[in-house]
């Protein structure tokens, strides 16, 4: 009983031929993979909140593998912001430079409550893979096979345990007695011979539309919002075993720039809310910080992320890996960063300057360090300082 895993390929922003080739080679390679459905979307970060791409992603049920030109953290929390949530799947394929174990999420700092602690993850797993991890297709395909096997095992395991313990749920019984199209584990019984060409979405509905001539008949078009078998609405699995075409989401995207909050780090201290003077941040229903008006953000300005005491704010397109959501300690973890010794200004100084530049650019007055500067200095002294704190204090006081 093959479980289905949806593989989402998020295209690069530019038409860089090298990137496009990897993307398309992957699509082609995955067409022949058992239990894998492929969806191709424009660059994940650029998708409009209510656009076709996001709606399509939201309609995917079950386990998902997202391959994008983003750090996995950036991809994960971009999805999260759009309501596409799940457990974090452990990805073994990482960029070769970052191979060392970096269990950053679970490691240290167990003391502070994180926003994510109060948000239970839905019962599905999302695996985010950085397309920059390798230059060839094979390692990605292998990793997807591994994930598929892992995902299939989980389902069987849970189902069987229920059975063995004599407590089959009604759906389980039903599934056993009446295997059919409504069954997650079984391929749709009513699947019609389908085209192997791409399935296109029209811009404003989620219904697959007839592709350009040359492609053959499409699989039954699932009505909007219905995904009975836990896959993308336009699953086009053919009965004859020929590969199904990928779902291609066409959405005209422009380049966007906005912060993405990593809630596994965020402590809801609200310093970003105080610091940003462009109204990007807001507070949601449960008094939780959220990126309320992403498009108020000033292109290129990462100032709030420098102010965040937990490094929870990601700007996926920033050139500094730590701001773009690199895993902690990676990106040259083997090398010593001497920036502080070589005169790097304080992150807060940089943030204030960056904010002033943006304020002046829109005709407002520069405010320097007079507005929205964290009260954290005054509060920080609670609790004993650890060694790093003292070291940083010394560095600061030295005016290197």
């Amino acid at each position: 009983m093959a479980k289905k895993v949806t593989v989402v390929i998020s295209q690069g922003q530019s038409a860089n031929p090298v990137k496009r080739k990897l993307e398309e080679d992957l699509v082609a390679a995955l067409l022949f993979e058992r239990g894998v459905e492929v969806t191709v979307i424009p660059h994940l970060y650029d998708l409009a909140p209510e656009g076709t791409g996001m709606l399509c992603l939201q309609s995917i049920a079950g386990d998902v593998v997202v391959l994008s030109w983003l750090y996995p953290r950036a991809a994960r929390w971009t999805l999260d912001r759009n309501g596409i949530r799940g457990r974090v799947g452990k990805v073994l394929l990482e960029s070769e430079a970052a191979d060392e174990d970096e269990e950053d999420e679970a490691a240290d700092d167990g003391d502070k409550p994180r926003v994510a602690d109060s948000l239970p993850a839905p019962n599905r797993t999302i695996y985010c893979i950085d397309l920059r991890a390798r230059n060839e297709v094979e390692p990605f395909v292998e990793e997807i096979r591994r994930i598929w096997a892992e995902a299939s095992m989980q389902t069987v395991g849970i189902d069987l345990l229920g059975w063995i313990q004599g407590a089959p749920k009604p759906e389980q019984l039903g599934r056993y007695l009446n295997p059919g199209p409504a069954n997650v584990d079984a391929p749709p019984a009513n699947a019609q011979p389908a085209a192997s060409g791409p399935v296109l979405f029209s811009p404003f509905t989620l219904q697959p539309i007839e592709p350009a001539s040359g492609d053959k008949q499409l699989n039954g078009a699932a009505p909007k919002g219905s995904q009975p078998n836990g896959s993308a609405p336009a699953s086009s699995e053919p009965a004859d075993g020929a590969p199904a075409g990928p779902v291609r989401v066409e959405e005209a995207t422009g380049r966007r720039w906005y912060p993405v909050i990593d809630y596994s780090r965020c402590t809801n201290c609200l310093e970003c809310l105080d610091f940003c003077l462009f109204g990007v941040y807001g507070v949601g229903g449960s008094e939780t910080i959220l990126v309320e008006q992403p498009d108020n953000c000033r292109k290129g300005c990462p100032a709030c992320s420098r102010v965040c005491p937990e490094n929870a704010i990601i700007f996926p397109q920033h050139k500094t890996p730590a701001i773009a959501g690199s895993p902690e300690g990676s990106a040259g973890a083997l090398k010593i960063d001497l920036s502080k010794l070589f005169g790097a200004p304080d992150a807060m100084e940089v943030a204030v300057l960056e904010r002033d530049v943006e304020l002046v650019a829109v005709g407002r007055d520069a405010v320097g360090a007079t507005v929205g500067i964290p009260k954290r200095q005054s509060q920080k002294d609670h609790g004993p300082k650890d060694e790093l704190d003292s070291l940083m204090d010394q560095l600061d006081s030295l005016d290197l």
Partner: protein, 164 residues
């Protein structure tokens, strides 16, 4: 840590700072910036040429890669980010040592940054800047600065090595 006049080479006076076992030497014919660059002007009002001090080169060791993110002619604030460097042992962003106008970069280093290691006080110069340079230190002041910051530098390096 020792500060002494190196008397082996009478022609070229220099101060010495002991980085552990390593003797870092600093010619006294120039000024220094707190970010471990030397600065030398050909005369009153002329641009300063900047390069890495022996202290910086010792921390970096073999330089593999040097990149500038501003163009010649740019007006710079002190501490403005201007580029990045990567070596066998370390990496760092680079920052303007003073406020002023960047006049030119040492083009030779862009094809092969190893010049920084070969001749840090001469052919391995990094760039030239126009500016008042009032924040620059005399060699003696720079050594006092080094002495004051060495313990922390040592701990920064060791701390990061231990973490890694």
């Amino acid at each position: 840590m020792t500060i002494r006049n190196a008397d082996e080479k009478p022609g070229r006076e220099e101060l010495v700072f002991m980085m552990g076992q390593f003797a870092a030497k600093f010619p006294v014919d120039r000024c220094y910036a707190k970010n471990h660059m030397w600065a030398q002007s050909a005369g009153e009002g002329k641009p300063f040429r900047f390069g890495f001090s022996a202290y910086a080169v010792r921390l970096l060791q073999d330089v593999y890669f040097l990149e500038w993110t501003v163009d010649a002619g740019a007006m710079l604030r002190e501490k403005q980010a201007i580029g990045a460097i990567e070596s066998s042992k370390a990496e760092s962003e680079l920052y303007a040592p003073m406020a002023g106008r960047l006049v030119e970069f040492n083009e030779n280093l862009l094809s092969d940054p190893a010049g920084i290691n070969v001749d840090p006080y001469g052919e391995g110069w990094l760039f030239a800047m126009e500016g008042a340079g009032e924040s620059l230190l005399s060699p003696e002041e720079y050594l006092v600065h080094l002495a004051a910051s060495w313990a922390v530098a040592e701990r920064t390096i060791k701390g990061q090595i231990n973490e890694g």
